[in-house]
Symmetry: C2
Subunit: 152 residues, 2 copies
Amino acid sequence: METPKGVAFLLSQLGAFGAQRFAERLRPLEIEPRHVGLLRMISANEGASQQELGERMGVVPSRMVSFVDDLEKRGFVERRRNPKDRRAYALHLTGKGTAMLRQAMLISVEHDEEVCAPLSQDERDVLAQLLSRLSTAHDLIPGVHPGYRHLR
Amino acid sequence: METPKGVAFLLSQLGAFGAQRFAERLRPLEIEPRHVGLLRMISANEGASQQELGERMGVVPSRMVSFVDDLEKRGFVERRRNPKDRRAYALHLTGKGTAMLRQAMLISVEHDEEVCAPLSQDERDVLAQLLSRLSTAHDLIPGVHPGYRHLR
DNA sequence: TATTGTTATACTCTATAACTATA
DNA sequence: TATAGTTATAGAGTATAACAATA
């Protein structure tokens, strides 16, 4: 029974490897990949409520609480009461949060450079294009990682 | 702050998506992706000891116990005492285990087909070749998923 | 003493469901 | 009654360390 050389296995293997390396790179900032994802999500949807974001990311409400707590404790995010509906919060990045997001994005670029280092520039372009098409064709949401999702 | 379009994120996103789909496909067999990995590992290393395999897969000894337990309970694997060293087991696939592995490999091929469906045959070949090169360049072990590894 | 496998334990993560406050 | 957010809780997964048998 030979070793699988399928594309799906390689994607999963490389994806998991890259995610681990990215987490290591972020460690000095005392932040995790999923927090970067949430910071980006808030930045792209300023003022959205917790559950709105949770729905887009596939995160259950109770989990969103501690998730946002993490970022609020560190001073990266503010929960502002929505005067129109005082049950809901409006989430906003603080200056500190914006700065942290920017740093994380820089690390993300470095990380990408490391992952693609074995390829020429042309090859990277081809790879990026093929992966983008797969991602789109399988209805994956840009910037949303399926690891956030709970199945079923 | 724009959506990341980096290769590393796409790999992680597609890899996680594919892993979830593969797990769904295996569900009727009441087996999980990691068990398939272990079956394959045993098949490729008949007679190896638990800890030998654990070392190759990056799985800690205590975890290997319940891992192998799972497969033994289902009758897929046999623990045979090694007469040369009666502390160690020699792991072997049963006929049932071989049949299950074969079935899982068929599903794996179907799964690969699904993941690659949006691409032409030529594009799949290009993608497979680029991913293989990345995997090799980053010293990933063929058929061994980093998710089995504990970091540090 | 060292090594293979096992068990006990403690810790983390997460989903479900009950709860509160507002609507 | 319904909804946003929260808390309590229980279950799964996993690593560490202590342990038994054998070397």
